[in-house]
């Protein structure tokens, strides 16, 4: 071996060691600042982690674009949902008077709210775009209670890192990190375009997360659970989406 190649070997080795330890430090920092998504394992974990981390750094406080009333879609598309079943129909016939939103997990005061109670809370109205991962989109005016207000009301514990939300449809659940949960535009949505939220669009209660794609905006929500880890929920991937092959984070 010539001197040149030995030097090359040493520098390459040092560079590799520095790179590996650099990655280790980066992983530690990313974990600490909540930049690792729950579906970070597996074949596409690297890309998913980069996307989530990059967008979290870029968008922690950014606001989804608000549109003018004239831009509200005249022909919004509700998308198809699985049959809601008899239980839902009974609630619907009663004008959803018995619909409850339970809040539990890492909160000081586990609570349950009726729609009437939710309607007494401070409300926020936003004209925002909802985009499906399939490619289509529409703009609507959404009104509801900021999720942050509810979390404040029930006394969210400081160690909570995610809010898990469940639909009336048993297989449909999802979760968001606290950056999205406390975001002022994240709404427990009761109304759309000036009226009650229609059932095809998720009524009586839908979580609007306007900085993420449509499938994070779960319809018919019944329960919020605050947690410091998503490992105990489902397969531990953060939501039903990764269990069906889709990314947990849908900011892209």
């Amino acid at each position: 071996m010539s001197k040149l190649s030995r030097r090359k070997l040493i520098t390459t080795g040092l560079a590799a060691a520095a790179g590996a330890s650099g990655l280790g430090v980066a992983a530690k920092l990313a974990e600490r600042y909540g930049l690792i998504p729950p579906d970070a394992g597996g074949l596409y974990g690297a890309g998913e982690t980069l996307t989530y981390a990059a967008q979290r750094i870029l968008t922690r406080h950014s606001m989804a674009q608000s549109f003018a009333p004239s831009q509200i879609s005249k022909d919004p598309f509700a998308n198809a949902v699985d049959p809601l079943g008899e239980g839902f129909q009974r609630l619907q016939q009663g004008g959803f008077a018995d619909w409850r939103l339970a809040v539990d997990g890492m909160v000081a005061r586990p609570s349950s709210f009726s729609l009437a109670e939710l309607k007494t809370f401070p409300s926020r109205t936003e004209i925002t775009l909802i985009a499906c991962e399939e490619g289509w989109s529409y703009i609507a005016e959404w009104s509801g209670v900021p999720l942050a207000h509810i979390l404040n009301l029930v006394g969210a514990l400081s160690q909570a890192r995610y809010v898990v939300y469940r639909s009336f449809q048993p297989d449909w659940w999802d979760s968001i990190d606290m950056a999205d949960a406390l975001h002022p535009q994240t709404l427990v949505t009761l109304g759309m375009n000036g009226g009650d939220l229609p059932v095809p669009f998720g009524g009586p209660l839908r979580l609007r997360v306007p900085r993420q794609l449509g499938y994070k905006n779960v319809k018919y929500i019944t329960r919020l659970t605050l947690t410091d880890s998503l490992k105990r929920f489902g397969k531990g991937l953060g939501s039903a989406a990764p269990e069906g092959g889709y990314a947990w984070y849908a900011g892209i």
Binding site: Y44, Q55, T59, Q65, G135
Partner: protein, 284 residues
């Protein structure tokens, strides 16, 4: 003679040395006349000194981009068929009149296509892989552009000479392409003016545009940089433009592969894989 640092020393065997093209100086240590601003050359002194046709950094980034682009293409088509309709502006859905519709079946039952069947949904892994490949493509592309400026690759290999840009010079090259004339031996060592212009267009126009229009579809990125979307005319406009820019990139890929084929597939592939060029008679 001053040997530029970019010349690489390789331990060539006599057999490999014979593969040097005739037009290239392989014999003496004297300064050699080289084609195209002295950009190429090979000399033989005590050891064989050969400059590779494509530098290692060009070869590695070329194939990384190739791999990620093919993954982006396949997954992009999969994502597209879940809604093969296109719109202009911010919004568009099945209740909206489309700008145009691709006459293909869809992977969602909610899309009216005229076909009596629905293709299987592949969006989950397609989206995961699309964005992972985009990261590879973007990181590789940034590295390539940074190094390309730093080491003179763009100036030396891709910037067309002013004389080549004259109408007469361009006409000559275009006429040669239209007649499907095989390239001259010296063209194996340098890009002609059409190649240079095309590669510059792909690197500095089409790739940045396809990345921009792709990012403009992200609701999170749109919240951080709203102008990235509004300048394009809205999210659906970004999606439509993403489709067309991707189409131009596919067109480039097809013509690129066709030209490689016409110029001698094996020799051109060898040059891009190993860096070594072999003369025509040994190639395709």
């Amino acid at each position: 003679m001053e040997i530029p640092a970019k010349f690489q020393i390789t331990g060539q065997t006599a057999g490999e040395a014979r593969e040097m093209p005739d037009g290239l100086p392989v014999s003496s240590g004297a300064p050699l006349s080289v084609h195209n601003e002295g950009a190429i050359g090979a000399i033989s002194q005590v050891a064989e000194v050969v400059r590779p046709r494509h530098s290692a950094f060009v070869r590695v980034t070329h194939w990384l981009i190739t791999l990620s682009f093919l993954a982006l293409l396949v997954t992009g088509v999969e994502i597209l068929i879940s809604h093969p309709r296109f719109y202009w502006g911010e919004t568009g859905n099945v209740n909206t009149r489309p700008l145009f519709t691709l006459p293909i079946p869809a992977s969602r039952a909610t899309v009216p296509t005229g076909y009596g069947y629905v293709l299987p949904d592949q969006n989950g892994w397609s989206r995961y892989l699309h964005f992972q490949s985009a990261w590879v493509a973007v990181c590789t592309g940034l590295l390539y552009v940074a190094l390309g400026f730093f080491n003179g690759h763009f100036r030396r290999n891709l910037l067309p000479a002013r004389s080549d840009l004259s109408p007469k010079g361009l006409a000559t090259v275009i006429a040669r392409h239209l007649r499907f004339r095989p390239p001259s031996e010296e063209e194996a060592w340098s890009y002609n003016v059409l190649q240079r212009l095309t590669y510059l267009l792909v690197i500095f126009v089409l790739f940045p545009l396809v990345i921009w229009t792709g990012l403009a579809m992200s609701p999170a990125v749109a919240s951080a940089i709203p102008a990235a979307v509004t300048v394009l005319g809205g999210r659906q406009s970004a999606r439509t433009l993403h489709f067309f820019v991707s189409g131009f990139l596919v067109l480039f890929l097809l013509v690129h592969v066709l030209m490689v084929w016409l110029a001698g597939f094996r020799s051109r592939m060898r040059a891009m894989i190993t860096g070594r060029h072999t003369p025509r008679m040994e190639g395709a």
